[in-house]
């Protein structure tokens, strides 16, 4: 698809201005090991111009990194008979488990609302909520709350001015992945914009997976739950016994 788009762009480039993005990541896979404590992803690349960049209007770069999509329920507490309880709930069909945007300038200055809607770039656009129940009047407040909570947990981030563009051709940015990562395929998208319109895109993936001991434990718990449960109890009893014997030995 991307090749097709690029080919198309190249074909039309004779008349129109066309640019192509070439990019790479510091790593294409993130391995979650026992001492995993977050990870840094460096995204870097270059813009290929058909004509010397000095002769055309400058470009801006937007880079997004999003985790696997989740279905989430947002609940609101209200005071009922003196105590705070959950009264209303809105289900959000699709919300990325992680979402970060890095841009060269303020997002509003380099991206039109219609383009944002089409490419689902900004945080509110990356979340899809359709089936708000009819008994909830203000469902937008629930989506806002979801963004607020996830921003507070450093799961959603808007990093304006953090993409560096050298000479209008080379760019790079950093994303820090938190330690509470969800496993799955993470998508990196790069958008080139000019006059608030997207003129070029690029997409690549990062595979985030548990490995080694973490993988083994996770698989055992999922595939052999009974054996896993019995094993957990056996380990607990053995540990209790060992400690008891050890302390008795210490005292005697």
């Amino acid at each position: 698809m991307i090749r097709f788009v690029i080919a198309l762009l190249l074909l039309t480039s004779a008349a129109a201005r066309a640019e192509e993005v070439v990019a790479a990541l510091s790593q294409n896979r993130v391995s979650i090991t026992a001492n995993f404590d977050g990870s840094e992803i460096l995204v870097f690349g270059a813009i290929k111009y058909e004509r010397p960049p000095e002769q055309i209007e400058p470009l801006d770069v937007i880079i997004t990194l999003s985790g696997p999509e989740q279905r989430v329920v947002v609940r609101r507490k209200q005071k009922v008979a003196g105590i705070w309880i959950n009264t209303r709930a809105v289900e959000v069909d699709q919300a990325p488990s992680f979402y970060a945007i890095s841009t060269t300038r303020a997002l509003n200055d380099i991206l039109a609302a219609t383009e944002d809607l089409r490419h689902k770039i900004s945080i509110p656009r990356a979340i899809r909520s359709v089936g708000a129940p009819s008994n909830v009047a203000n469902s937008a407040a629930f989506t806002k709350a979801l963004i607020r909570i996830r921003e507070a947990n450093k799961l959603y981030k808007l990093q304006e001015y953090e993409t560096v563009l050298f000479d209008g051709t080379l760019f790079r940015t950093n994303f820090s992945l938190p330690s509470n990562l969800v496993e799955g395929i993470y998508t990196t998208r790069i958008f080139l914009t000019r006059n608030k319109r997207v003129v070029g895109t690029y997409k690549t993936f990062i595979n985030v997976r548990k490995v080694g001991f973490e993988r083994w434990i996770y698989n055992l718990a999922r595939r052999q739950p009974l054996i896993y449960g019995i094993m957990s109890i056996m380990i607990a009893i053995a540990a209790g016994w060992t400690a008891s014997a050890f302390f008795r030995y210490l005292r005697s």
Partner: protein, 307 residues
């Protein structure tokens, strides 16, 4: 030093976890409570998902209770016969409680039910224990006061199926202990705890067992009920985090050893006052959460992966 937990899917400081396990272990050994009512909220607080905290807490309690009960066995402060009667009731109650829990989960508001039952039970038990043990201390300071009659209540004496519980020095019907075990089992399954904090007072005030025997006997029963709960969580919700449990256990078993020693040095009345105060503090914290306006009225829970 950070450790990534494969089931909880978060990374936490390993020393924080060991310390947490240790504190709960000390309390477990001292009072004969499993510590579930403390460890579960503490795990929520450090960012472990609630479902994983409840299931893994149960697994950790197995270890600290086992370590504690061995110390009590050596001191012959476990009434095995009473323990088995309580256990039969406990397992039936836990199986029933899990059903109730699932029905309420389907209806929604299960969190509220759990919180409310914590507040109500901890509040009642903590207050009753505090009053009773303060009275006991006041009486013991006046030597000529008539000795408080410990033992079974008159209505308990009238029930059939009498059994002799030699370690406890009781000759009572098997029905009250069965009912106590059953009730504790139901509550344990709903509240996700071993139930020691309910059982210990019930054994003292309803069954009339001596305090020294109560601790060991309740630990004995808790091992089996929490093991049962662990298996249920592991097979239905896949929420038992073995590495998390192991780290908590390392702290917990060490703490339990110290706790048992400390418990033996304290007087029964002092022990009861401390436990009562602890129960009231936890109850107050949970009550405040329900009564005060939350800073963030919204909450997010992940339902699953979207297609």
């Amino acid at each position: 030093m950070q450790i990534y937990l494969p089931i909880a899917e978060v990374s936490v400081n390993i020393f924080l976890l060991i310390g947490l396990g240790g504190v709960v272990g000390i309390l477990s050994g001292m009072f004969g409570v499993g510590g579930g009512f403390l460890i579960t909220p503490l795990l929520f607080f450090i960012g472990i998902p609630p479902a994983v905290a409840v299931a893994t807490g149960a697994n950790q309690i197995v270890a600290s209770s086992f370590s504690g009960v061995l110390a009590h066995f050596r001191r012959r402060t476990v009434d095995l016969r009473m323990g088995f009667v309580l256990l039969i009731g406990g397992l039936i109650g836990a199986a029933f409680g899990v059903q109730v829990f699932n029905i309420l989960k389907a209806l929604g508001q299960v969190d509220l039910l759990v919180q409310l039952s914590y507040v109500v039970f901890l509040g009642i038990i903590g207050t009753l224990m505090l009053i009773e043990s303060l009275n006991a201390i006041r009486k013991s300071k006046r030597p000529p006061a008539p000795r408080a009659k410990r033992g079974s209540r008159p209505w308990i004496q009238k029930l059939p199926f009498k059994m002799r519980f030699r370690t406890s020095g009781l000759y009572i019907s098997a029905i009250p202990p069965l009912i106590v075990g059953l009730a504790v089992g139901v509550l344990a399954a709903i509240m996700g705890v071993g139930g020691g904090f309910i059982m210990v007072p019930a054994m003292i005030y309803i069954l009339g067992m001596p305090t020294k025997v109560v601790v060991g006997t309740s630990l004995f029963q808790i091992i089996f009920v929490t093991a049962f709960t662990t298996i249920l969580h592991a097979t239905t919700n896949y929420t038992v985090d073995m590495p998390l449990a192991l780290v908590l256990i390392v702290g917990g078993v060490i703490g339990a050893q110290f706790g048992t020693q400390m418990g033996l040095r304290l007087k029964a009345e002092q022990l009861r006052i401390l436990l009562a105060l602890l129960v009231i503090v936890v109850c107050g914290k949970l009550a405040l959460d329900l009564l005060l306006q939350p800073a963030e009225p919204y909450s997010v829970s992940v339902v699953g992966a979207s297609q």
